[in-house]
Amino acid sequence: MNIDYIIQISGPMLEGARTTVLLFLIVIVLSIPLGMAVTLMAKSRFKPLAWIAHTYIYVMRGTPLLLQLLFFCFGLPQIPVIGQYLVMDRFVAAALGFILNYGAYFAEIFRGGLLSIDKGQHEAAKVLGLSRWQTLRKVILAQMFRVALPAVANESITLVKDTALLYAVAVPELLNFAKTAVNRDFTVVPFVVAGIIYLLMTLVLTLFFKALEKRFKFE
């Protein structure tokens, strides 16, 4: 293994890692609010809304992420008549698939967080004169996020690794560059470098969530 070679391939691989990070950020920023909204829908007293939320969660969790990505990138344009309007940039289509998939998982994580909150919290808030919406905002959500934090951390780390699925829809990213270099140069080194870059990314996330958990310990 020679240092010059590693430096030489690291440039394009970090370039690929940029796509990975970009996808990660887009998906996290959009799928967490989506998950939150779906959780609230699932709890809605208006039944059709709850039914839609449950169906959505069931479909997104019940089918492979890879199938969903292929569906958005290559399936949608094949739909008769409207398909021609559904041709998207592959990165955008894949990001959409990721957001919808992770939104469903986050919805379930948040639902678990809500279940953990004692009904005494709602009662105390009600007697103090808070409306349902005020109670949700000021009392329930903060506690729910705290309970959900370890699971959210876990899911985020899974997302970093799942971005490698972009490989399957031919969007150039970290793994894609590594594979190209391996094929071209007949060496395993690019895979090792890719592994290290993934580890660095997940390390940053791990430390970030550790700090968050500490910050919101309420002690």
Partner: protein
Amino acid sequence: MAMSSMSNIIEVSQLQKSFGSLSVLKNISFDMKPGEVVAVIGPSGSGKSTMLRSLVHLEEVTKGSIRISGQALVENGHYASGAAIKDITAGMGMVFQHFNLFPHLTVRGNLELAPRTLKRKSVQEIKAASRELLAKVGLADKADVYPSTLSGGQKQRVAIARALMQSPEILLFDEPTSALDPELTGEVLRVIRQLAEENMTMMIVTHEMSFARDVADRIFFMDNGEIAEAGTPEELFGNPKLERTRAFLMRE
């Protein structure tokens, strides 16, 4: 003023609550005067908590009426509108068996959350009130800690201070010392006793017989979903009329 101080602050008549064929409250009627302290005793499952909770609309009754300061919360089983219910119950504070403090907020945050959210007072007034009430319950030095660091007795005193933040006309206590270690009940009971001396109107569901006897103007003995016997502490503890009251007091 003499007239209004004579009128009832709570009027409950023929309250009933049932789940299917199971009736939890059977024909409960009573009045309370301003400044009066009523202790509710009775075996578990007798409907004490359900009755108390129905006064602040944490439980809905099936039949009967509840009037708070003359306003009907529920009249013959028909509830007032949502806004009216909020308005009518706004003057009632409640202290729960398990405190129900907000764990994500500091002690001060627990006291100030509702008033700050509802914005009925200025932030200055709210801060001054929380400082004063924490001092009143003896926890001035705990304003900035989280509830998880407090003992049970301290938590319950915070809960009382939080309830007092809404300047309630009526305070309801649902077994305020039942979740506490015996050595911690004293500090909570002292605070409640002080409120009684300040003429706070209170209804206290409790298992602390000697405290009930000591602090209450009247005792309700509930059994099997009804107020079986009511009277002054002297009457009820000294000379209970019913055999089941006598049997209950013997057991306690």
